[in-house]
Amino acid sequence: MKVTQLTVFLENRSGRLAEVAGLLGREGINIRGFSTTEAAEYGIVRLIVTDPVRARDLLHAAGFTTHFSQVICVRVPDEPGGLAKVLGELAATGASIDYLYSISFQNICFAVRDIDRAIELLKDKVALLTDEEVRAL
């Protein structure tokens, strides 16, 4: 149920994010979801891509610093209160969310400190997605 996320360190310079997206696009790697942090001088871009290992290698070759991490992805019911239900279940686990962002239209992804415990607690309450399912969205 863990999904591989690729994280990239970026200085806050205009066009830097476009460079990352352009590089992956030219190589046929599809970005299924991404988020950026806000910081005055630098930031972190988090990416869910179709081929994380090749994306990492490409970015390395282009001089970027990257990092792999594991996150949880959840399908959110496409109805009023859908997100509230998922977040409510998440809160009930007591897990503290480091960050959360949405991928595609109906799916969100987030990272917690104890991913295994969170998955265990969530698996019957919300529609968790496998890595394969996420790539196939």
């Binding site: 994280t7 360190f9 942090t37 610093t65 990272a111």
Partner: protein
């Protein structure tokens, strides 16, 4: 001190005494609106001054030769006997002393007295690792006090004035140096130390401070803070300020003077020579009078080390003439400036040095603190995650110097969350603060963002306006 007479106008005792550490003082007016603390010593005819210097130089050499193995070896190697030195021309044959020599003999190896006879030790940052220590006998402390008393008196400060001493207290020589000198002169001293601007302005007015001592950048900061609080220069009782420990321009002087409504005077010194008071400005503000009866001054070419003619810019070199605990021969200050012996209207006969216009090494002076890039490098290299590429960027925000340390983010540093990166920045900042006692801002950069150079890496980018160093 009970025998000290302090009635201005009483005049010189006749110039007969040559004792710089005389207990009997005769405060007298100079011709520039200031005062002479030791009128005879400060206005010695040039020929007499020269003879006195040679006599004291031989004594210094004897002291160094007999008590400091480092100097005995150096002088023996050169075949120089202290008593052989009898004219200024002979000085060029004497060996130089550098900060590295002091560091190599850390902590007390360059002292000419047993540690038990040392009444005080100060220290300043060294190029790497060990600090540079400075020892004083009781007479050294008294002599230092006299030099600061001369400095303050030259600005018109007299017994009964109240000095707000906003130099930092501690191992740094600025705080205690000004403190003892002002007490020796007979002032009321407020040892407020640096920082806490709100309290500085309150005490200045509540206590009625008539003189201020602090770095020039802090003086400007105080002036701006006063203005921001709606205080006019005439609301502040200070008449005169003594500002050294970092380079500043005449332009900044005019701003400090207008902002605080004072005469702002420059004061020069370095811990190796005992601290501030090596040279000072009179109210003519035309260069700093070197206390030549206590320090032999030279300007040499920093490359060839040959003495340069008067007026040319070169490296400032000092030999102590009266320090007992730590005589230093031809100490290379690394400060670049020029000398003039043109008579000064104030009546002092000493040579004057220009404001230093730069350094012959890579030392940075940040808010009065000496910082060597190698010290920052040492800290950075002790942190395994840091890549061997970094850059130190010095800039000026308002009137205060700021240091940025640029570090490239490699796999070792990069982690999942912004919190991790921010913790890393704080960790590096804290380690640099622990070693150097200065606040830096660590900036995280992408790999290769720091320019590689073909030859020697450019480690320091100084973006401060060039005018700070010159006129």
């Amino acid at each position: 001190m009970s025998s000290r007479r302090s009635s201005p106008g009483e005049g010189d005792a006749g110039g007969a005494r040559l004792t710089g550490t005389a207990r009997e003082q005769h405060l007298a007016p100079d011709a520039a609106g200031g005062l002479l603390w030791q009128p005879a010593d400060e206005t010695l005819p040039t020929a007499r001054l020269g003879a006195l210097q040679m006599e004291r130089l031989r004594e210094t050499l004897r002291n160094a030769y007999e008590h400091i193995p480092f100097y005995r070896k150096k002088l023996d190697e050169l075949g120089i006997k202290p008593e052989d030195v009898d004219c200024h021309g002979d000085v060029a044959d004497l060996p130089f002393t550098t900060k590295v020599d002091l560091r190599d003999h850390y902590p007390f190896g360059m002292f000419a007295r047993p540690r038990e006879e040392i009444v005080r030790v100060h220290a300043s940052s060294g190029t790497t690792g060990n600090p540079t220590t400075v020892g004083y006998t009781r007479d050294d402390v008294d002599m230092w006090g006299d030099l600061i008393a001369r400095t303050l008196a030259a600005g018109g400060v007299k017994p009964g004035d109240l000095l707000q001493n906003a130099y930092g207290y501690g191992l740094f020589t600025g705080g205690l140096g000004l403190h003892f000198g002002a007490e020796r002169l007979g002032c009321t001293v407020v040892p407020i130390s640096g920082g806490n601007t709100e309290r500085q302005l309150k005490i200045m007015r509540d206590f009625g401070a008539t003189a201020l001592s602090c770095t020039p950048s802090y003086a400007m900061y105080l002036a701006e803070a006063a203005r921001d609080r709606g205080l006019r220069p005439e609301d502040l009782p200070i008449r005169v300020g003594f500002h050294g420990a970092e380079p500043w321009t005449n332009e900044l002087r005019l701003q400090v003077e207008a902002g605080l409504g004072i005469d702002a005077l420059d004061i020069y010194g370095l811990s190796e020579m005992g601290g501030p008071g090596v040279a000072f400005e009179c109210l003519c503000k035309g260069g700093m009078h070197v206390n030549e009866d206590h320090y032999l001054v030279e300007i040499v070419d920093p490359e060839t080390l040959q003495p340069l003619p008067e007026g040319e810019v070169g490296e400032l070199v000092f030999t102590t003439l009266t320090r007992q605990a730590q005589p230093l021969i031809r100490y290379r200050t690394r400060d670049l400036c020029s000398l003039t012996s043109d008579p000064c209207p104030c009546g002092r006969t000493s040579a004057r040095m220009s404001k230093p216009i730069g350094r012959s090494d890579d030392m940075l002076i940040i808010r009065g603190v000496n910082v060597f890039p190698s010290q920052i490098e040492e800290v950075l290299m002790s942190i395994p995650e840091i890549e061997p590429h970094y850059q130190i960027v010095v800039d000026r925000k308002g009137y205060l110097d700021v240091i940025e340390v640029w570090v490239e983010v490699g796999e070792g540093i990069f982690a999942e969350t912004m919190g991790d990166l921010e913790r890393f920045q704080r960790k590096v900042q804290a380690q640099i603060y622990n070693v150097l006692n200065i606040q830096v801002a660590v900036k995280l950069k992408e790999p290769k963002a720091i320019q590689r150079s073909e030859g020697k890496a450019v480690r320091v980018i100084d973006r401060r306006p060039a005018s700070i160093l010159g006129r």
